[in-house]
Amino acid sequence: MLSYTVRRLLILIPVLLGMTIITFSIVHLIPGNPAQVILGESATDQQIQNLEETMGINEPYVKQYWIYLTDLLQGDLGTSLKTKSEVVSEIGPKLAATAELTFFAMLFAIIVGVNAGIVSAWKQNSWFDILAMVVALIGVSMPVFWLALMEKWFFAQELGWLPSGGRESSRDPIEPITHFFVIDSILHGDMERLVTTLKHLVLPSVALGTIPMAIIARMTRSSMLEVMKSDYIRTIRAKGSGQIIVIYKHALRNATIPVLTVIGLQTGVLLGGAILTETIFSWPGIGRYVYDAITFRDYPVIQSGILVIAFIFVMINLIVDLLYAYIDPRIKY
């Protein structure tokens, strides 16, 4: 297990380097003079020159990349052109906001998706199965931002059941401790605020989690059906075990293995989807941060935002791979 972990970590090195090459290109390879492009038409020569110097644009690419990389390793993610402050100091609370949203979205996706998949497989061809699979099929075909817009319109604006955006009510901002507002409200011992926070989480999490939920449900179902046909399930039935043990103990554990991979990959979809969902629900997370940066052509922020999200995605997949090895004893290294 240790050797496997170490090997997985070593494999990550070229991947992480490759990622930085791509994000490096965002700022340094844009056609024309990057400084000019970044600062826009109205920039003065002086401004362009200053930026060229700080970016080291006249150096060869290899050297520029080296500078970028060493800066990164020192925790320097560049400076926002819009706010003129360090990206690294801005990104923390936004990351927490995104993490909180992603967590709840994934929680929703996994709980609903896995259970719907199990029941569908168990009661194959029942009305529940057919309904669930139709819903899942529609779910995977839906653009996440459209779903978000529709939810916002219907549940927030038409029905007024839930807040239409933001993480908290603007009149009464929370004193952040961890920047995870659910945890912060608990730490403050403020139950009313906890309810408000959770209410704000419902629409964006459901919007963001629907597609992964549909995919997880489909995957769980087919994986369960596959496992249910296997020889060892027949053995377990031949021992006289009941349906519950067969399904929830043996079939589920075996079926989890492919489902886990899907969950890992869907986290990526979720993180990507966060850019769209957070924009629609004015969620002050990293997705919206990147979206705003796109609108303002704030290249250093786009660059760092993408890098940070990709980094998180890679780490989540690493965890999934390690979990894999934990669940499936056949994987040994």
Binding site: D231, T235, I236, A238, K239, G240, S241, G242, R253, D328
Partner: protein
């Protein structure tokens, strides 16, 4: 007759597929007595495995379904027993081992976990006791280092060892009947010898009745008291192992035995039955073997013969038994070159 533990009466198990209804088991009857080893022999597609799965009600449904007949286990008809009742019987009173030891154990749980689960489902004993019992069973089936193996995963064991684990699991509750569905087919011959030896000992020491499903006449000859020969979903011949091998009556059995290369006999050329096994079909009316049979005559293609009872528990499904003369002629062919 009173010591019959398992009796199949006119069992019909059909599969309902896109290509129509397939009578995989088409009116099978035979019995198994206490302490007896009965072999069910047949080639692929003969319905021997489906028969054994039917007894346990482990036919994947859909597409398979028992559509007729009785399965009497100590007088109780299992063919229409509830799932709840079957769960009590499976593993406890009738247990089963399968052909593929490599895939028949759950890969993500330890050997011990799977054994303990089987024991504790039927007997209310503590985990610790069940574990002791599991280790004891592993020792009984000749697994070395049983107290360590119990905590290992199936993939850490060889095929032969896994089949021993399967046997340990199936014997752990001292069932009256053990159904072994091609238990050694996937194993090497030296390992097969070990497993057959083990099964023979269990049969002799514990008095377990064994229903042995196999395609290998050698295995049958070594293990069984009586033999049932199946072809295309039906029993074509039944008798003691000596009768079947030394004096086969049905043309199929004859052909099968003659087409077997023998380790201890010199033969110039093997006999071969032309053609392949006919897939069972609901529409076909004639004898299932007629198209491959060198003795077939008109009646064979239009009518399916009954099982003729030649002697006590000696049966054969062939029109040639209709007249004494023809049987005589028939037996003659055995010596023909």
């Amino acid at each position: 007759m009173d010591n019959i533990v398992l009796e199949l009466k006119d069992l019909h198990t059909h599969f309902f597929t896109d290509n129509g209804e397939i009578p995989a088991v088409d009116g099978v009857s035979f019995d198994l007595k206490k302490g007896e080893v009965v072999g069910v022999v047949g080639e692929s597609g003969s319905g021997k495995s489906v028969t054994s799965l039917s007894v346990m009600q482990l036919i994947p449904n859909p597409p398979g379904k028992i559509v007729g007949g009785e399965i009497l286990f100590k007088g109780e008809n299992l063919a229409n027993a509830s799932e709840k009742r079957m769960r009590k019987i499976r593993g406890n009173e009738i247990s089963m081992i399968f052909q593929e030891p490599m895939t028949s154990l759950d890969p993500v749980f330890t050997i011990g976990n799977q054994l303990i689960e089987a024991i504790r489902f039927h007997q209310k004993i503590s985990k610790k006791q069940a574990r002791q019992r599991a280790i004891h069973m592993l020792e009984l089936v000749g697994i070395p280092r049983a107290d360590e193996i119990v905590d290992e995963y199936p993939h850490q064991l060889s095929g032969g060892m896994r089949q021993r684990v399967m046997i340990a699991m199936s014997m752990s509750l001292n069932p009256e009947v053990l159904i072994a569905d091609e238990p050694t087919t996937a194993l090497d011959v030296t390992i097969q010898a070990q497993i057959l030896d083990l099964m023979r000992n269990l049969n002799q020491e514990q008095g377990t009745s064994i229903l042995l499903i196999t395609h290998d006449l050698g295995v049958v000859s070594e293990m069984c008291d009586r033999v049932v020969v199946m072809y295309s979903g039906q029993v074509v011949e039944e008798g003691t192992v000596r009768e079947i091998i030394k004096d086969p009556q049905h043309p199929y059995t004859k052909g099968l035995i003659r087409s077997l290369p023998n380790l201890y006999k010199k033969e110039q050329k093997l006999y071969s039955i032309p053609g392949t096994v006919m897939k069972p079909s609901t529409e076909y009316v004639g004898c299932r073997f007629a198209s491959r049979c060198e003795f077939a005559f008109d009646r064979c293609f239009n009518e399916n013969p009954d099982l003729y009872e030649l002697n006590h528990q000696r049966k054969s499904r062939c029109f040639l038994h209709d007249e004494e003369k023809e049987v005589g002629e028939f037996v003659d062919t055995n010596t023909r070159s």
